[in-house]
């Protein structure tokens, strides 16, 4: 046990946490405003990865162009889901909403297999961010440092959007008092569509960014991440973006330190944490607020 190891385990935990945050942010935003826990968010993550990959292939292999275009395609999918499906079940009981999004998980897993093939696809390289840097004598990928920076930037951007803009005020109003917002002239359905599509975009960007880090694309890649994102969203207090950010950090560091220092470490511990938070502080670290 030395400093070099400690720093690197920390860095690993931070980058893991920031990846989960990118996915959990969209999930949390959608839950906070629409009140829907979206199973299909993992599918958006997967679709984001695949669409960015195809966009990249079609446009000369530039990773950044793929990252820009791919998630936009997934936004169209998100739009269709909200406008033509989800909108019709808001008034119904919880199971219908969950199962509707669950049905989309099954649908997209299979569609991806049909469209892109069953085998895994190797990831493209990222120009400018492909090497590693020497930190205290051990190497750490530049790309992961980039993600450690991007995560908080996304968080900052979301905070500014929600706290400082006119849209943010409407979103906050609609998430706490739906009827009131409608009464003062907010077009709630349109707002919901907008928020859902934006959340979709966040998930898709998370997927597109995850590919160079995981190293490959596989059908079904969204299933593992969605449970982690659920854990993070719950620990942070469902619907709280601040909480989700902190939750992602906690889970990232817990799994990184746990894997390194506790031989028996397992997802078991994260689920214990999740249950404990639900039992003693269901509102999460900061209480329910967007």
């Amino acid at each position: 046990m030395n400093l070099e190891s400690l720093v690197h385990v920390c860095l690993a935990g931070l980058s893991t946490g920031m990846f989960i945050w990118l996915v959990a942010s969209g999930l949390t935003l959608i839950f906070g405003v629409l009140g829907v826990l979206n199973f299909a968010h993992g599918s958006f993550y997967m679709l984001g990865a695949y669409c960015a990959f195809t966009a990249l292939k079609l446009m000369g292999g530039n990773f950044w162009l793929g990252l820009l275009v791919g998630p936009l395609v997934v936004c169209a999918v998100g739009f269709v889901i909200e406008r033509f499906f989800l909108r019709h079940v808001y008034g119904l009981e919880l199971p219908y909403q969950l199962l509707l999004t669950f049905a989309f998980v099954l649908l997209f897993d299979n569609l991806v297999k049909i469209i892109w093939g069953a085998g895994s696809i190797g990831s493209p390289s990222v120009p400018g961010l492909s090497g590693s840097v020497n930190i205290l004598g051990r190497f750490f990928p530049v790309y992961n440092l980039f993600i450690i920076v991007v995560g908080p930037l996304v968080a900052l951007g979301l905070w500014a959007l929600i706290e400082k803009t006119w849209y943010g005020r409407i979103i906050r109003a609609a998430s706490t008092e739906r009827e009131m917002a409608a009464a003062i002239g907010v077009r709630v359905p349109a707002l919901f569509t907008g928020v859902f599509v934006f959340g979709t975009w966040l998930g898709a960007v998370g997927g597109a960014l995850a590919v160079p880090y995981i190293g490959l694309l596989t059908p079904g890649m969204g299933e593992a991440i969605i449970i982690e994102a659920f854990v993070v969203a719950v620990i942070g207090g469902l619907g709280s973006l601040k909480g989700a950010f902190l939750g992602a950090l906690v889970i990232g560091l817990l799994s990184s330190f746990g894997t390194r220092f506790l031989p028996a470490f397992d997802m078991f511990l994260t689920f214990i944490l999740m249950a404990a938070v639900l039992l003693w502080r269901p509102q999460g670290f900061f209480g329910k607020a967007v």
């Binding site: 690197h8 690993a12 069953a118 895994s120 190497f139 880090y213 995981i214 596989t218 894997t259």
Partner: protein
């Protein structure tokens, strides 16, 4: 990518859809006459094949299918099995045992399969064993590697319906130790899957290597759960232990991810002796491309450049022509399973389970992977797969095996009766 080409869209008994459940039990209706060339065997010969076709490992199912379909086409073009047409139906095994059992029961009791093949997961193979005894059909396992299948289910429990054509965990654990004993590394560590396969192989590696090279020590273990996408903490664990050698039975997509992340962390610079028992899988080599470091020891259940003889090279050519792909190891085991059945049925002059079991036991066959012999006691196919050091090549867009070491199956596979002196290598 659809699977129209492979899926047999036979129109099932017309009654099925209309009368629903009742028709599912119609049972075995064997077409007769058309292909019945010899009086004893009434064709066609039907093989039910299951492999993983969904989820993150779905690519393996595709590779299985390619090999089996090619075998079927070649067998039928060459007059079939004893004059009977070979028919194959595929099903998705998922990775769950109850699904595998339902598939097997469907194949035998509803579709009328004479033989079964496939199966990727060890848990599924173990769960299927008693079912195969009940259904009394032969299952040729082409991927699942657990030694318990042949040692316990076949040898100890006497379930003679199970055969395995691929190499088992012995190749991954024992053979690796034979290679490791000559490497200048006295301390070893592992990053391996956090399930039975990973635990078993590491135990075998440790035990055999300790016997071969007393004084060697094992300094760190880091176990990665199924579906791990982030190996950075595992890699840090290994780097902290500073072993001279790393052994890892990670496989498929997770091996690709681990190698990439280990490369980024500079692991291959500080640890010189690295062994990947399933690193010679085509999906891994192609998926990693130039990111697979040089001078890493890799092996598999088959590698398309070994053996360098006309049987294998011609087959690789035919496979390339048919699928525009290099054959994966499951393509070879699936392909050879069909030819094993052909040879056994023709030798037995019958497709009855008992007769074919007798023909398969001790049977020698030539296959792309070389000569295979089905060991009589435990029904394990004995054949040699090399271990090799990765090297770049002008001819291929991925790393191949350069320097090779062959540890013959006879020397590294556990031997019956599997308990007591002289049953585990070195002999």
């Amino acid at each position: 990518m659809g699977n129209n080409g492979w899926t047999r869209r036979r129109f099932i008994q017309a009654g099925l859809l209309t009368t629903g459940a009742a028709a599912l039990g119609v049972g075995v209706t064997r077409p007769t006459g058309l292909w019945a060339a010899t009086p004893k065997i009434k064709g066609p010969i039907k093989v039910g094949y299951q492999a993983i076709m969904s989820g993150t490992l779905a690519g393996y199912g595709e590779f299985h299918k390619m090999g089996v379909t090619l075998a079927m086409e070649e067998i039928n073009a060459g007059g079939g099995i004893a004059g009977n047409k070979l028919e194959v139906e595929f099903r998705d095994s998922t990775l769950k045992a109850p699904e595998a059992i339902q598939n097997a029961r469907y194949f035998v009791d509803s579709w009328g399969a004479d033989f079964l093949g496939g199966v990727d997961s060890s848990g599924q193979a173990l769960a299927l064993a008693p079912v195969m005894a009940e259904l009394d059909r032969i299952l040729i396992v082409t991927h699942a590697a657990t030694e318990k299948l042949t040692e316990e289910q076949v040898f100890k429990n006497g379930i003679k319906q199970i055969f395995r054509i691929c190499t088992p965990t012995y190749q991954d654990g024992n053979a690796a130790a034979f290679v490791a004993k000559d490497l200048p590394a006295a301390t070893w560590a592992t990053i391996s899957p956090k399930y039975e396969y990973g635990y078993t192989c590491w135990d075998m590696f440790k035990n055999t290597l300790t016997k071969l090279k007393p004084g060697v020590s094992f300094t760190a273990e880091s176990w990665a759960p199924f579906g791990t996408t982030d190996f950075r903490s595992h890699i840090n664990t290994i780097l902290d232990a500073k072993p001279e050698g790393l052994y890892s039975t990670e496989w498929a997509g997770e091996l690709i991810t681990m190698v990439r992340q280990a490369g980024q962390a500079g692991l291959f610079k500080s640890i010189k002796h690295v062994m990947f028992p399933v690193g010679a899988a085509m999906d891994v080599l192609e998926g990693l491309g130039a990111d697979m470091p040089d001078n890493v020891w890799i092996s598999g259940r088959y590698f398309f450049l070994y053996p360098n003889n006309s049987t294998n090279n011609d087959w690789v050519q035919r496979f390339r022509k048919r699928w525009n792909h290099y054959p994966a190891y499951v393509s070879e085991t699936g392909y050879s399973a069909m030819f094993a059945l052909k040879k056994a049925v023709e030798a037995a002059g019958s497709k009855e389970t008992k007769a074919v079991i007798q023909a398969l036991e001790g049977m020698t066959m030539d296959s792309p992977a070389g000569q295979r012999v089905f060991r009589k006691e435990d029904h394990q196919a004995m054949y040699d797969v090399p271990w090799g050091l990765t090297v770049a090549s002008d001819k291929y867009p991925f790393k191949i095996m350069g320097k090779q070491i062959l540890v013959p199956a006879k020397e590294c596979f556990n031997r019956p009766p599997f308990e007591g002196e002289g049953t585990r290598p070195p002999f």
